[in-house]
């Protein structure tokens, strides 16, 4: 009998028919991967398995978890089933943990809830045991969530999910927002638990490469339906449905020559434009930045030539964002220099303002970067106002939107951010940067928060901007695939120091340093060697 059996599941919200007839099966000892873009209904499926959807959702169809029909259980039996027989590793452990309770208490809570005979001391011992299983020291039980790193929080979440010895684990995007190395550790941990305990897991992700690393079978969802399913190797190597093909193409294989400077795009193919690389534009020498007693950047050197795209890669906490902020003139270095055109960046005054105009920032998450009450026209023209650029701001803003390929600009100028898609919002942010005619773009994880299908479009835009305007870019990313797709050179940062730098082709295929090799090894590599394009 399967641990999880879903037949013809439908979920209707008042405004939307979110899930339209989904069938799923998970057997003991097996991991099923559920893939899809945001809004395809995959998280709704996850929540419906334990009847955790809001009251307004109408659920129909058959859901059986470990032999119990979840849809008809009374509330008491349902609560007994929750966590004891099926538990959930939620998306974003930061928010899924109570911020003001010690994590040990939170892990112990379901243990004592489902078995009131367990004493406080026994529960503490179990918590220490569970923490050891997720490779955390027992004294971390006394920590509050904010005292833990992203990977540690996710480990706590997994320890919590294992607390009552469930038969089924539902993991909803468990590694989103973690860097590659930590992501690999968390995925290994989850698959280890499944193999060791012979339990079943439903792993949900938008990243096909993550699923391919762990899952034996895959199901791909689109618009509330499963459009394709089967053994991972077959689905990834011979995707039948266009949606699956898009997901496969969105995560390029590092080292695969066909993916080099070729982001997946439905528009015009991205030109290489390498021939436009000119003289040195930006130079960072021995940069040091400290916060209190913590050294964030510890003597880093870096240079970007005109028309060149340089990728700055590293794990979370390696200092790459701080380095970028120093380049933008937002953080004052404690040592070393930042030079633009061979001139040191002034620490204050008009010179610093002019530097900030020439070096523009593209932040990570366009949704939080845009003021929800500012129209696109205002958002794009704001920099023009701040820098008192002469000329017709409305016309300049429209031209910038056209440059960012939001055409015709008149259609987007009066829009509010919530009326746009994620990819369109990122284009607005890029247009706001372009409006000031910068010479260098500093893009902090420009595609990390975007859906698979728009990642390629935004990366292609960066390549086209370079070809058209000769615009140089410093792209900060933890994703080596992004570096492989757009960058000319790559700089590997670790603990505030540059470990290795050089042409992408050399560093990412034949790294000289062990650390770079370990980053490459951590990339979830799907088992596809060749695939139709």
């Amino acid at each position: 009998m399967s641990l999880l059996r879903v037949r013809d599941l439908h979920v209707r919200y008042p405004s939307e028919h979110a899930v339209r007839g989904v069938d799923l099966d998970v057997e003991a000892g097996e991991t099923l991967g559920l893939a899809g873009e945001s809004g395809c209904g995959k998280s709704t499926v996850a929540l419906s398995l334990l009847r955790l959807l809001p009251r307004t959702a109408a659920v129909s169809g058959e859901i059986s978890v470990d032999g119990e029909d979840v849809t008809t259980l009374n509330w008491g039996r349902l609560r007994a089933l929750r966590w004891a027989r099926a538990s959930v590793v939620f998306q974003g452990a930061m928010h899924a943990l109570n911020p003001v309770r010690r994590v040990g208490e939170q892990i112990a809570e379901p243990i004592r809830l489902h078995d009131p005979t367990v004493t406080a001391a026994q529960a503490r011992a179990r918590v220490a045991d569970l923490l050891a299983q997720v490779e955390l020291p027992a004294e971390r039980a006394r920590a509050y969530p904010h005292e833990l790193s992203g990977g540690q929080k996710q480990r706590v979440m997994i320890a919590m999910a294992l607390a009552c010895g469930p038969r089924l684990i539902v993991a909803d995007e468990p590694t989103t927002a973690l860097d590659v190395v930590v992501q690999a550790q968390v995925l290994d941990l989850l698959s280890g638990v499944v193999a060791e305990r012979g339990i079943g897991m439903l792993l949900i992700s938008h990243d096909l490469a993550v699923l391919a690393r762990v899952c034996g079978r895959l199901a791909v969802m689109d618009a509330g339906r499963v459009v394709e399913s089967g053994p991972t190797g077959r689905v990834v190597a011979e995707p039948a449905h266009p949606r699956t093909r898009a997901l496969v193409a969105a995560f390029p294989a590092v080292g695969e020559p066909r993916h080099r400077r070729a982001p997946a795009t439905t528009g015009e193919p991205a030109p290489a434009g390498v021939d436009r690389v000119g003289g040195e534009l930006l130079r960072v020498e021995g940069l040091r930045v400290r916060f209190g007693d913590t050294v964030a950047v510890d003597g880093a050197d870096l240079d970007v030539r005109a028309g060149e795209i340089v990728a700055l890669v590293g794990q979370s906490g390696s200092g790459k964002t701080t380095l970028a902020r120093a380049v933008l003139g937002l953080v004052r270095p404690d040592g070393g220099r930042v030079l633009l055109d061979g001139r040191a960046v002034p620490a204050r005054g008009r010179g610093l303002r002019e530097h900030r105009r020439q070096v523009q920032w593209v932040p990570q998450d366009p949704t939080s970067a845009l003021n929800p009450r500012h129209r696109v026209a205002d958002a794009v023209a704001e920099g023009l106002r701040v820098h008192r650029v002469p000329g017709d701001h409305a016309a300049l803003a429209a031209a910038a939107l056209a440059e960012a390929e939001l055409r015709p600009p008149e259609r987007y100028l009066p829009a509010l951010p919530h009326e746009l898609s994620g990819g369109q919002r990122q284009r607005v942010v890029i247009a706001a940067a372009l409006a000031l005619a910068p010479r260098l773009l500093v893009a902090d994880e420009p595609v990390a928060s975007l859906d698979a299908s728009v990642r390629g479009e935004i990366l292609a835009l960066l390549l086209r901007l370079r070809a058209r305007l000769g615009l140089a870019a410093l792209v900060i990313t933890h994703d080596l695939g992004v570096a492989w797709t757009v960058a000319d050179r790559v700089v590997v940062l670790r603990a505030g120091r540059v470990v290795e730098s050089g042409p992408v082709e050399r560093v990412l295929t034949d790294p000289a340093q062990a650390y770079t090799r370990s980053l490459l090894a951590a990339i979830p590599r799907a088992r596809w060697a060749s695939r139709p394009t």
């Binding site: 609560r79 089933l81 974003g92 109570n98 003001v100 916060f291």
Partner: protein, 335 residues
Amino acid sequence: MSDAPVVVAVERPRRRRLGRYVAGKVGGALLSLGLIAVLGFLLFRALPGDPVTTMTRGRPVSAAQIAELEAAYGLDRPLIEQFWSYLADLARGDLGMSYTFRVPVADKIAERVGPTLLLVGTGTLLAVALGLWLGTRSAWRRGGRFDKAATGVALGLWSVPTFWLGLLLLSWTSGLFPSGGITYPDTPPDFWSQAVDTAHHMVLPVITFVAVVYAQYQLVMRASLVEELSAPHLLTARAKGLREDQVLRRHAVPNALLPTVTLVFLHLGLVVSGAITVETVFSWPGLGLLTFEALRGPDLPLLQGTFLVLAAAVVLANLAADLLYRVLDPRVRAS
């Protein structure tokens, strides 16, 4: 709180950080108190009305006599000189002599602090308890009949003038409760009789006080809990198999209480001065009534004294809120 510095993963001994934090907050409070002392002097000199004129009202006085009185109270000296002697006295703990009562201001305030603390303390406890309970129920069934009724009533009462509500209660209960004062003069002096009589006198002032102020606690708690109820970690709690009331009791309410507690403490300082109207309507012999009496003079030393005490209460309550929040919320402790 928002003014706490954001430090990125600084490894530093906890105790040293705590010491610096407490020292900063206490230093800030002391600075505020100093500014209040200066303001207390200037503010009441800007008031209309002349103390000597009021003292001699209705009596034939010559210019010489007025000058003599002014000299006796030091009112003839230049303002800056008066200010320095005020500061020097204050430093010694001497608040001066009251013009109207002709006793030291410090003694008069000491005599009136007890009744105010009794009234305000009881009233605040009841208002906080009532407000938090109603706010929690309102948020739990947001938009329901209870929520609409409770929020409407609270807002209605909040907008009622205190003195008017007090008079209304007096006329409605007509004679059931004493109309003013803290005890009857003929009550036996033993503790129990005095306590029962004081409680009897307290009923109407406390009801008036609670009715007018509980709304703010209710609305703050409601807003805080409504926000907390959409927190993703409550979904985790439900998935763990907790009952809805356990989710509320263990995870939502304690977290929602954190900002509410701070607000309760911030308001605590203000309610001491807020008792002025209640005390005046019910002739409750507390600091509020004393301030009201001092204003009629104006009895400058007495006004300065009560102003200092009431303002200090606000500063100390703020300090308590800052320190308490740090104890309660581990996230603030870390930063």
